[in-house]
């Protein structure tokens, strides 16, 4: 087992474990903390996938900013859940079954993929050095992905206005 494999399994188990924690822990604060943990493990996985920039963003924006917002809201509303985490109902059982079916179908589809555990293009050292770097990402973002980039700016504006309107006191 190479170091990469060890790390992969460690991060994978961590990710799934804390993700399961999110849905099976009663206390919302614990759920949120579990989610933060999951995001950290995922950032590790991203590093293994040679996506350093995204890994940093994951920690900074996701685990850092978004989850803090969540925790802030949870604290603000001083939520503490009592009662069962889920009630059994027909639609929920059907939903759970559909989820399981989706998982099985996806795993089956993935197992049929041709893949030998090597990445052919990685022999090209120059390419390997540039992939996933913030330099490359920035270059592509500002020269090729201009339209989606501008669209995101619009989205953020709309989100700000929307959040202010919704959170404003009674209209």
């Amino acid at each position: 087992m190479s170091a990469e494999q060890v790390l992969f399994w460690a991060f994978a188990v961590g990710t799934i474990g804390s993700a399961v924690g999110v849905i099976f822990v009663r206390n919302p604060v614990a759920s949120a903390m579990s989610l933060v943990a999951s995001f950290f493990f995922l950032a590790g996985i991203y590093v293994l996938l040679w996506a350093h920039t995204i890994a940093v963003l994951q920690v900074l924006v996701y685990a850092g900013a978004i989850m803090v917002l969540f925790l802030f809201v949870i604290m603000l509303l001083s939520l503490n859940d009592t009662g069962p985490i889920a009630q059994v109902s027909l639609s929920r059982v059907a939903g759970a079954l559909a989820t399981a079916a989706l998982l099985v179908a996806l795993v089956q589809a993935f197992r049929k993929l041709p893949g030998s555990g090597t990445v052919e293009w990685a022999t090209d050292a120059g390419r390997l050095a540039s992939v996933g770097t913030s330099k490359q990402l920035g270059a592509v973002l500002y020269t090729q992905w201009l339209f989606p980039f501008e669209a995101v700016s619009l989205l953020l504006l709309v989100a700000i206005v929307g959040a202010v309107v919704v959170a404003k006191s009674r209209i």
């Binding site: 339209f147 669209a151 504006l157 709309v158």
Partner: protein
């Protein structure tokens, strides 16, 4: 050394309508700061102006040749341009409706109209998107604006609840769509729809499972957005809880934009797949949506909920048109004809142009009709009713023909148009759409659609019965009349009838809709 991109000015035409809408929205937000007088009707007029100008730009775009623009992230084609025209029309009417509605509730704010214009901009951009990530972002622009609009009024629990439900299911659908896009990216190495079409046949050879999984997830995501059965559960609650002018915009704009995006996406995604698979899936969705939408609407006494279910049924008719795009070419006249199979009358050639036209004309008809129907509801909706809980009960419409003959006549026209009775635009829309479906060989599906629309007629007629044939209740509250509301109602009523009699140049223009990029 960066290779800086070079654009020609003409490439930006596709975003001009959205840009106009955004500028309008910003003006409105600023006006709230600098110009907040007691009378805010001018805000609605600014909204209408922005929509009209954007609509005119979009109409001009519709006569441009179809082409790929902005580095392949967007397209400029008549199909999306016409959709933008309709969105702008719907937004303008919804702004007018909102003015009276909000004024009555003392809740008229610039942000409301700004969010409406933002939503319209998102719809316009969504219709033009040619890449999954772009599509996803624009979908979010329109969704986020609509979530906020839904939860705008916070008198009573309903709007916030509706906003919350809409948000959760919308985000869930977006996640499904996105995961599907990721899988398709894995299979082909691109997220651009026009490239996907070329790469999918190759990917099918080795990664069929991945492609089908991605296809299914994307379809499920879109099915949520267009409220196709069985992904429709959110619709009635959200439509009921949202402020009525917002419901009107949702029922037309959001749905229309999602339909255009759906068509564009699946035109690309069906390349290389076994043609029976998308055909079967779409037929099934269309069948379930038409039948279930109509059957679920029948027992509703709450008119707003009834209209929500009816919008599901209308999505079903549109899906019938979409299905006609994906009829497998191999179907022969002699094949056995079950409901879910195509049996063309003749070995017909391409029918696509008439299908696009049918979809767009139907959307146009549905836009004016649905805005009108929700608008009438908004007009008779009293603030005092909000605590009673039966705001939209059929009983509230009793005797409207005596109290407000003009409104009742308009509402009757809208109901008949929704039912597809001539001489209204609803009939012509159904005619265009169903003729395209019959031409494609979907005869049995068309028959099912037609029969389910009879069930639809039953509940639309019930509204007419209450308005014209029941006495007015003694405690009927006096209406709150506002000129903008009346302008919107009159405009939609005239459009509903006039377009049904003389579709004239509109139908001719829409013939260009067949020029869909990549088709």
């Amino acid at each position: 050394m960066l290779n800086t991109p070079s654009f020609t000015l003409a490439e930006f035409m596709t975003v001009v309508p959205a840009a106009v809408l955004v500028v309008g929205a910003i003006v409105l937000m600023l006006s709230e700061v600098f110009l907040s007088t007691a009378n805010r009707t001018y805000m609605a007029i600014v909204g209408v102006l922005a929509s009209v100008v954007a609509g005119l730009f979009a109409l001009a775009n519709a006569f441009e040749p179809a082409r790929l623009v902005l580095q392949g992230f967007a397209v400029l084609d008549p199909f999306s341009s016409f959709m933008t025209v309709m969105v702008c029309l719907g937004t303008a009417l919804a702004c007018l409706l909102a003015s009276g509605f909000l004024k009555h509730r003392n809740a008229e704010r610039g942000e409301f109209y700004a969010l409406m214009l933002f939503a319209a901009a998102g719809m316009s951009l969504l219709a033009a998107s040619n890449e999954f990530i772009t599509l996803f972002i624009n979908l979010e622009v329109l969704s986020v604006a609509t979530y906020a609009l839904t939860a705008f009024l916070r008198r009573g629990p309903r709007p916030a609840e509706a906003g919350f439900k809409y948000f959760i299911l919308g985000a869930f659908a977006a996640a499904l769509l996105l995961y599907g896009a990721a899988l398709l990216y894995g299979a082909t190495g691109t997220t651009r729809l026009s490239d996907l079409a070329g790469l999918l046949p190759g990917a099918m050879a080795t990664k069929a499972g991945l492609v089908y999984a991605g296809f299914g997830l994307v379809l499920a995501g879109f099915a949520f957005k267009v409220a196709a059965v069985p992904f429709h559960m959110w619709t009635p609650d959200v439509y009921e809880g949202a402020p009525t002018p917002v419901t009107a915009l949702m029922s037309v704009g959001v749905k229309a934009a999602a339909f255009v995006a759906l068509v564009r996406t699946f035109l690309a995604l069906t390349h290389g797949l076994d043609p029976q698979v998308p055909f079967a899936l779409f037929s099934l969705l269309a069948l379930l949506t038409m039948v279930a939408g109509n059957l679920l609407a029948m027992p509703q006494r709450n008119v707003k909920r009834m209209l929500a279910y009816s919008s599901i049924a209308h999505a079903g008719y549109l899906l019938l048109g979409v299905t006609a795009l994906f009829v497998p070419p191999s179907a022969k006249a002699g094949d056995a004809g079950g409901v879910l199979s195509a049996t063309p009358l003749l070995a017909a050639g391409a029918v696509n142009a008439s299908v696009y036209k049918g979809i767009l004309f139907y959307l146009l008809g549905y836009t004016v009709t649905s805005i009108g129907a929700f608008g009438t509801l908004a007009a008779i909706e009293r603030r005092e009713d909000e605590t009673r809980g039966n705001t939209w009960d059929l009983e509230r419409l009793s005797g409207l023909a005596q109290r407000q003959p003009g409104w009742a006549a308009a509402m009757a026209a809208f109901m008949l148009s929704l039912a597809g009775v001539p001489p209204t635009v609803g009939f012509l829309g159904k005619l265009f759409l169903f003729s395209a479906a019959v031409d494609a060989g979907l005869i049995w599906l068309a028959v099912v659609g037609v029969l389910s629309s009879v069930a639809g007629t039953y509940y639309y007629l019930r509204v007419v019965v209450y308005m014209f044939m029941r006495p007015a209740p003694a405690d009927a509250p006096a209406p709150f009349r506002h000129w903008t509301t009346e302008v919107a109602l009159v405009a939609s009523a005239i459009a509903t009838v006039a377009l049904g009699i003389v579709p004239g140049p509109v139908a001719e223009w829409l013939s260009r809709a067949g020029m869909v990029f990549g088709n």
